[in-house]
């Protein structure tokens, strides 16, 4: 972004990568897949690179309001400094915080999650997926992210994106508004679970495995980690893949 600004240009859209997308090895692959899609469509985008910082969401949900506000206000300073208007992100938590919590602190951006972004590209015919293709006969189940679905009401976009792949979509028993959390939200990602009978991600993975899908599709880096750990715990890594919707589109396009 700094380079663009130095040239006096501003991008059509800023891709907010998020901490997981930047540092977590598995999520970095999602980041790269999404970037490939953007590049293949010659979309004018930029990233903040090393100027990006945690939105503060995990700190806020763990109770540390002070730290959240420091992060938020600093980020808003940077974004406003570059006069950013439109953003897209692959992380529902970043999406929620930027969309619903930054406005109160002076950050107003039209921010989108990559599921609705991709859906629009498909609807507009910019992403063209030919009939048949490599996904014919594959079974995909979509796991709703709480902060995308229940919290922000985005249930259909990720499903529409998956439907375009021409695979069989199967629903888990608890889906959409009733979708079961992967267990990572509310900063649980960053600590061990409290004592209980079962881990939440294993409970959810079992439900996904019951659909006999060969792919569990996710739209959140934390769901990605939790579902992969769940699949590992059930020793199904060789049969069942956990993939982000962007990766599936990239794969279908041979990117």
């Amino acid at each position: 972004m700094a380079e663009l600004a130095a040239q006096g240009r501003s991008p059509e859209v800023l891709f907010w990568v998020g901490c997981a997308g930047s540092f977590d090895d598995r999520s970095k692959r999602v980041t790269r897949a999404f970037v490939k899609i953007l590049q293949s469509l010659k979309i004018d985008f930029a990233v903040l690179g090393t100027e990006e910082a945690c939105t503060g969401d995990p700190a806020r949900r763990a109770g540390n309001e002070f730290l959240f506000q420091v992060q938020a206000i600093n980020n808003i300073q940077v974004l406003n400094g570059y006069n950013i208007k439109r953003m897209v992100t692959t992380c529902p938590h970043c999406f929620n915080t930027i969309k619903n919590e930054y406005p109160q602190l002076g950050g107003n951006y039209a921010v989108e999650h990559h599921s609705t972004f991709l859906q629009r590209l498909i609807d507009e015919g910019r992403i063209v997926l030919k009939e048949g293709g490599t996904f014919k006969g594959r079974r995909i189940t979509y796991h709703d992210s709480c902060y995308l679905g229940r919290v922000n009401g985005v249930y259909e976009a990720p499903r529409a994106v998956l439907a375009a792949l021409d695979a069989d979509l199967v629903e888990m028993k608890r889906s959409r508004a009733k979708g079961l959390c992967c267990g990572a939200g509310g900063a649980q990602m960053f600590k061990e679970p409290e004592p209980g009978k079962k881990d939440i991600n294993v409970e959810r993975t079992d439900e996904a495995l019951n659909t006999n899908a060969d792919t569990i599709a996710v739209a959140c880096p934390f769901c990605m980690t939790m579902m992969r750990d769940g699949v590992k715990a059930r020793e199904k890594e060789s049969e069942v893949a956990v993939k982000d919707i962007a990766e599936l589109i990239a794969e279908r396009q041979g990117l």
Partner: protein, 438 residues
């Protein structure tokens, strides 16, 4: 008759007084909370109230209990219109005072009331079976201790008895209309209670008079008793569901409430604004009920203890100590304990106890994934998560007592601007990794 009239007026007045005192106590407890109840955007609020409280919209996510509950609810609302006649008769010493005025409409109304009475009766019976025989999981979890279970069963049984009283009263009355028509105005044939008439066939007229009176008194005393009882019970939701849905926050679901003092302090620290005004900032987050917002406290009184929230809670489903219903029940119990203490001249809020610590434990608070399943599930728009997050703020900011792993995460964000221990200079490395990139 005059004795009955005087007795009735005294009982009515006494009930009114007791209910008024209870209402005042509850209102005082809710006012312990922070901030005002919000009244902006009245149109949207009214809509929520009409759809969710009046129209029971969120109940219908589970159709079977919703239909049964709808019968009880409508029955209760409509049969209470008949109570109006009871009260006028009771004070004036008349009998079915509306019958002559309403003419042909009266039997129609009475038949509607009776139909609903039967529907309420049947629904309550099924509810009792569901709770006690089928043992639906959400009615038997840990926080459903003796009293909450008894509370539910008492009300269901009372409703059944009240409905039987109405039908008995009407059956006896119809005999009396035949035998002494000058004293008992015709109500027309009442479908359900006329089926009970053969039971009273043999009775003398005097016995019928007594039966009718006893059933009448039983019903009205039951209703008045109910009015007092609900103020101590989860059944307060029949009243408070309305204000609770009206005052429910309209902000986006994903938005936690902002702490202005912190914003000012942070802005000043970053050199973006004036130094914050001095003066005690008060407590961050919530340790006790008086730190919570008023809507959270109102919600605690409006909670129906239905457990739909807990039924969908991922933490609860997987055996963690957390139950969002218990969060609401604890909040109400704490307020009621404060009331009781004050009534006895005790210290009330300053009794050395607090909501967090003595009622709600750290383990419960730490188990929440903030997934909002509870918020989505609640049929009366209660947000248990708000209380959990308020308590987390207290733990993190006042006690510095967050779990060690979270404190490490805080430190990483502070030093590296990411929740993990990676140097910020590595943030853009993803672009140069991966064989197929660029």
């Amino acid at each position: 008759m005059l004795v009955q009239q005087i007795l009735f007026v005294i009982i009515l007045a006494a009930t009114g007084y007791v209910v008024w005192r209870r209402a005042r106590g509850i209102a005082r407890n809710i006012r312990m909370g922070q901030g005002e109840l919000q009244t902006d955007r009245p149109g949207e609020r009214l809509r929520n109230m009409l759809l969710v409280a009046f129209g029971q919209k969120k109940m219908f996510k589970r159709p079977w209990p919703a239909i049964l509950h709808f019968f009880v609810y409508i029955g209760f609302l409509v049969i209470n219109i008949e109570i109006l006649e009871f009260i006028v008769d009771g004070i004036a010493g008349t009998h079915r005072i509306f019958a002559p005025y309403l003419g042909g409409l009266y039997p129609v109304l009475m038949n509607i009331f009776e139909f609903l009475a039967v529907a309420v009766l049947a629904s309550c019976a099924i509810f009792l079976l569901r709770r006690n025989v089928a043992k639906v999981r959400r009615f038997w979890s840990r926080e459903m201790t003796a009293w909450p279970r008894l509370d539910a069963n008492l009300i269901l049984t009372a409703e059944i008895l009240l409905m039987i009283a109405i039908l008995t009263m009407n059956a006896a009355d119809q005999w009396l209309q035949v035998r002494t028509p000058e004293k008992y105005p015709a109500s027309g044939t009442l479908f359900f209670s006329s089926m009970l008439m053969p039971l009273f066939n043999e009775m003398s007229t005097a016995a019928l008079v007594v039966t009718e009176r006893v059933a009448w008194w039983f019903h009205i005393l039951g209703i008045l008793g109910f009015a007092i009882y609900i103020t101590y019970s989860k059944h307060l939701h029949i009243v408070l569901a309305f204000p609770n849905t009206y005052f429910a926050p309209l902000k986006p679901r994903g938005q936690m409430k902002n702490i202005e003092v912190v914003t000012n302090e942070v802005r000043a620290m970053l050199g973006l604004g004036d130094a914050p005004q001095t003066g005690a900032p008060g407590r961050f987050g919530a340790k006790d009920v008086n730190d919570l917002s008023r809507i959270s406290l109102l919600s605690a009184y409006a909670c129906t203890e239905c457990g739909r929230c807990t039924d969908e809670c991922p933490a609860n489903i997987t055996g963690k100590a957390l139950s969002p219903r218990k969060i609401m029940m604890d909040t109400r119990d704490r307020m009621e304990d404060i009331s009781r203490s004050l009534a006895k001249g005790g210290p009330g809020l300053d009794d050395g106890k607090s909501l967090f610590g003595d009622y709600i434990t750290r383990e419960e608070i730490n188990a929440c994934t903030a997934c909002q399943a509870c918020v989505e599930a609640c049929p009366v728009m209660i947000n248990p998560l708000e209380i959990i997050l308020d308590i987390r703020r207290y733990i993190a900011m006042e006690e510095s007592g967050a779990p060690a792993a979270w404190n490490a995460m805080f430190q990483n964000i502070e030093n590296n601007f990411a929740p993990w221990k990676f140097p910020p200079s590595d943030r853009f490395n993803w672009a140069n990794e991966g064989s197929r990139t660029q």
